[in-house]
């Protein structure tokens, strides 16, 4: 890990809940990680994990609302070398017990995104969404 340019830093941005927003989510993350001076390898992995989590919001929390005008918020915080990424959305409530990657012997691609998130991040936690939010997901990684 490179030395951080900013040890304490927080940025957040909202995005329309659409698959076409995923590119913008990635650009936002890359910009923030650039400021945090995170090395390229880790940056690529973090961007993938964040984009997969945002994709899960589009794909699952808004499964029945493809044309929604709702926005999701992505917040990236770095404090004392601990990176915390928060996701807020107003979609269908997520049942944390049902969020898991599939069994390894089931040769289907579904669930791979969740597997990537779990591989890359140290912790994945669903918190109670405070109004107006329904879902609040927090991913953490020690830098």
């Amino acid at each position: 890990m490179s030395e951080l340019a900013h040890t304490n830093h927080t940025e957040k941005k909202d995005f329309l809940v659409r698959s076409s927003s995923l590119k913008d989510v990635r650009s936002f993350c890359r910009e923030v990680f650039e400021k945090l001076n995170i090395d390229q390898n880790l940056k690529d992995e973090l961007v993938l994990a964040i984009a997969e989590a945002a994709q899960n919001i589009v794909k699952h929390a808004y499964k029945n609302a493809p044309d929604t005008e709702d926005k999701m918020v992505v917040q990236i915080s770095c404090k004392d070398n601990k990176l915390q990424i928060g996701f807020y959305d107003m979609g269908t409530p997520v049942d944390p017990g049902k969020v898991k990657h599939r069994e390894i012997d089931n040769i289907k691609p579904g669930g791979l995104g969740t597997f990537f998130i779990q591989q890359i991040m140290d912790a994945v936690e669903f918190k109670d969404g405070k109004k107006p939010w329904i879902n609040h997901l927090v991913l953490t990684k020690q830098l």
Binding site: K23, P109, Q119
Partner: protein
């Protein structure tokens, strides 16, 4: 994402470039699967793909499965460093 298809006899070499995510996975799928469906041997070049997520991996899995059903060949011929990293992670899962 952009693509180019090269035809060499019955073989089709599909070159994808750019970023492959959920938003464009269908375009990749609609480029590759009909070629396999038509019985072509498909070689996929991903050397110019600089981002791929689980949606892109899904397209590769579907393509491989369809090629097995159609008794033809589906192969990756070149992959970028970024794609190789994602494939390595996916291999732990698949």
């Amino acid at each position: 994402m952009t693509y180019k298809v090269e035809e060499i006899d019955a073989k089709r070499i599909v070159h994808l470039s750019g970023e492959i995510d959920m938003d464009v996975a269908d375009k990749a799928r609609q480029t590759i699967l009909p070629l396999i469906e038509a019985g072509h041997e498909v070689h996929l070049n991903l050397s110019k793909v600089d981002y791929m997520d689980s949606s892109g991996i899904s397209v590769l899995i579907e393509s491989k499965k369809l090629s097995e059903q159609k008794n033809t060949k589906f192969e990756l011929v070149e992959v970028s460093k970024q794609v190789e990293k994602v494939l390595a992670m996916a291999r732990k899962f698949l």
